[in-house]
Amino acid sequence: MENIEKLKNAFKESLGVDDSIIVDTLAYQSIPEWDSISHMVLISQIEEAFDITIETEDVIDLSSFAKAREIVSKYGIQC
């Protein structure tokens, strides 16, 4: 699976949303499914998918799908 698909999958599983809404503009708290609780699960899913440990400042910074792509690239994962 390509990295972008892995990342989309992490969003899909943790937020329980359809593929079609997982686009760069999808933002934290812009939909009911992406709340503070599912955000914790999302971080865990991304870490598990790419075998990385996301720093606290990046957990706070991860405010959209586009931002998630940018943040995982900091850990050597190109999406």
Binding site: S36, I37, M40, V41, I43, S44, E48, T53
Partner: protein, 252 residues
Amino acid sequence: MESNANMLLKNQTCLITGASRGIGLAISTLFAQNGARVILTGRDNTRLNDVITTLPVFSLPHLSFTLDVTREAEIVQLFKHLHSENIYINCLVNNAGIMEDSTLQMVKPELIHRIYGTNVFGPIMASQYALKSLIKHRGGSIINLSSIIGTNGNSGQSIYGSSKSAIIGFTKSLSKELAPLNIRVNAIAPGFIDTDMTKGMNPRFYEKNLNAIGMKRIGTPLDVARVALFLASDLSEYVTGQTIGVDGGMII
């Protein structure tokens, strides 16, 4: 290897801070006896390694790490290391704590920082980093050690007492936050317990404390560890946000 079929913490990995003596040692021992793999942390790793040799092993080997909970970098490093080894804890016991008494007028800022650093910021930071493990398991237990001084207050202990009250507030709010993820957060408020902290006490003060206990005996670290075992295990699977006193009916 003995059978661990009926043990309360079978296949559980539990991290205990301040594990080398007193209540932390009793919790580590009881958890290991109940099938857990324990990760002992404390400032004296030699002592922790000695403790490990006394613990029964029912699953994977126990581990020990030097950790001063006032140093965030050490907490980060510990959890990074555990995760890199694919070790994800099921239970965190925030036991490490210090008690220093002084009337408020005599308190130096350094003392406030020292007590809050260990008793409040330490447990908060450890919980934050432990959370990743617990979320991965979609469940687990955080146990914070408060004190009867945190629930009731005491003269000469405004700093220590307020630090232990803070941890109750932390427990209550965090329990609400993590309940949807099936992660439980509870606190224990021990009374007068027979540990190194109380052994060096002025005999008159010791006697006064003893007389304030309804059951007329000092508590043991095992008394506290048994409640920690309850909170770590599935026996308390519907219990969260609570502070359980272990004080023999002490009036303070």
